[in-house]
Symmetry: C2
Subunit: 265 residues, 2 copies
C-alpha cells in the first residue's frame, strides 16, 4: 500500500476561497497527508484567483498535494472508492450518527486504514458547512472541542487539526529533534568535584557563617541538581566562577573554558 | 483566578503579517485562550494593512482577543510577569533545553497553571522563526510532529495546534454536541417484533427457500443489529417495507410512519 493509500483522503466540498485550498494542502503536507479532492469549487478549476493570496502561494510549497489533487462535479463521485466517511460539522445537525472528536475519530480511522480500508473526511464550504444531505452520506460526524462562544473554525484550520490528530492516532509521533546528543547529564564525579570547589571557594570568601552553613551548602547542591547540568555546563560554570574569583587576572584555563562553552549554543 | 489568568499567554515575536495576527486571535478564541501579546510587529501598531485580508477580517469575530491584546517593544518586557516560558521552533536549534511536543508540553503547562503559575508561549516571525537569543530566554522548546520533508507551519496554524493541545491537556475536552437525545437504541421487544414481521413478509414473498433459510434469517438479524437502530429507525424501516409490499395502495398508517420519520433529520 502506498503512503497516500494508507492515509485518509481530505475532501473539500464546494470550497469558496482558493487561499483556503492552498492552506489546506499546506496543512496536509505538514502532517504527511497527500490526497486532496475537491467537489465543485466555487471559482471553477483551476481557480482564477492566483494573485498574491492565491492557492499556490498559500500552499507555501506543498505543490505535490496540489499536483495530485482531483476535482469532481458531484460529491457521490468523489467518495465512490472509499469505505468509510467522516463528515466534519461545527454544530449539532440533528442526524442520528456517532459523533467523534478528532483524536478518537482518527484512532478509529487508523484502525480501518490498517485493515486496508480507505477513509475519507468531508469538509463543507466556508460559510455554511456541509448540507444535511451531504452529512447523511457519511458514516459518522467529526467535530472539534471548540469554545461554544466562538466555534467558527477556519476551513484550513479544521483540516490542520484533523491532519494533526491523524499523525497522533497513527502512533508514529515523534519530535523532529530532541536535546542535542552531546549534552547528556554530567557524571556524578564531575558534580561532586564541582560542589567541593564551590564549598572551598565560598568558604575562602567568608560566605558560609554561623549555624545555617550546612543548610546553605545543601541549597547550593539542590540548585545545581535542578539545573540537570551537562559536563559542559559544569565546565562553563566552573570557568565563570574562576574568572570572577580571579578578576580575570588568574587562571587562563578558566577563561578558555568559558569561551569554549559559548560554542555549544 | 480569571479565565485569562488560567490559560497560557500567546506571544508573537516580530510578527510580519497582520492577517496572521488576526488568524492567531481566531484560533485562540476557538479554544478559549484570551491573552495575546505582540513584540515589535513589523508593520507597527495598529497594523496599516486593514484591507480585505487585514487583521480584523482574519480574526473573524475574535475581537475580544484583539481588544485585549498588548504590544511591547522588547521581548523581555513582554514576559516579565510570567513564570514559565516555552519557545516554539520548527527545527533543531542546538540549545540544551528540554524539547516537548504540543500535548506533553501543554500537559506540563496545565500543571503549572493549576498551581497558580503564569505560562507563556513564544512564536517567532513567519520567515525566520525565533532568534537563538530569544529561544535562550525560554525554559523549554515546543515543537510539532511535522513531516520532516515539509516542516514549515504557518504561524496561525502553529498557534492553533498549541491552543488545541491546551484544551486537550486541560482535560475539559468534550464535543459541543453528541447524538440527539431522542434517539436511544430501540427496545428489544421492538426489534423482535420487527424480525417477526420481516420473517413473515419474506416468507409470504417466497424469499426463503431451501436449507439456507435459517442462515439468511440470522444474517438479516445481524444486519439490523449492526445498524444500532433507534425506535424511530425501526418505525421508519417497517413503514417503508409496508409501503413496498402494498405498492402504496394498502396501509395508510405505514405511509404515515415513513413521512413522520423524515421529521427526525
Amino acid at each position: 500500500m502506498s503512503i497516500a493509500a494508507a492515509s485518509p483522503v481530505i475532501i473539500l466540498v464546494r470550497p469558496q476561497m482558493a487561499e483556503n485550498i492552498g492552506m489546506a494542502a499546506r496543512a496536509m503536507a505538514n502532517f504527511g497527508l497527500a490526497e486532496l479532492r475537491l467537489v465543485a469549487p466555487r471559482d471553477g478549476w483551476p481557480p482564477a484567483d492566483e494573485g498574491p493570496k492565491g492557492m499556490t502561494q498559500a500552499a507555501a510549497g506543498a505543490t505535490h498535494v496540489l499536483d495530485a489533487l482531483a476535482v469532481f462535479d458531484r460529491l457521490e463521485d468523489a467518495v465512490g472508492d472509499l469505505n468509510y466517511l467522516f463528515a466534519t460539522t461545527a454544530r449539532e445537525r440533528g442526524q442520528a450518527k456517532p459523533v467523534h472528536l478528532p483524536q478518537e475519530g482518527m484512532a478509529l480511522a487508523a484502525g480501518r486504514v490498517a485493515s486496508g480500508q480507505r477513509v475519507g473526511i468531508l469538509f463543507g464550504p466556508e460559510r455554511t458547512g456541509l448540507e444535511n444531505d451531504e452529512i447523511a452520506l457519511a458514516d459518522s460526524v467529526l467535530t472539534f472541542p471548540v469554545d461554544p462562544a466562538f466555534s467558527s473554525l477556519n476551513l484550513a484550520q479544521a483540516v490542520l487539526l484533523v491532519s494533526y490528530a491523524w499523525v497522533n492516532a497513527r502512533g508514529a509521533v515523534a519530535a523532529p529533534f530532541s536535546l542535542p546528543h552531546n549534552t547528556g547529564p554530567a557524571r556524578r564525579e564531575t558534580l561532586l568535584s564541582f560542589f567541593a570547589f564551590l564549598d572551598d571557594a565560598l568558604e575562602r570568601a567568608g560566605f558560609f557563617q554561623g549555624a545555617r552553613a550546612p543548610v546553605m551548602r545543601r541549597n547550593f547542591r539542590n540548585i545545581i541538581h535542578r539545573m540537570e547540568p551537562t559536563e559542559q555546563d559544569i565546565r562553563t560554570l566552573r570557568g565563570a566562577l574562576v574568572a570572577l574569583i580571579t578578576g580575570g587576572r588568574g587562571n587562563n584555563r578558566g577563561g578558555d573554558a568559558v569561551s569554549r562553552s559559548g560554542e555549544e549554543g
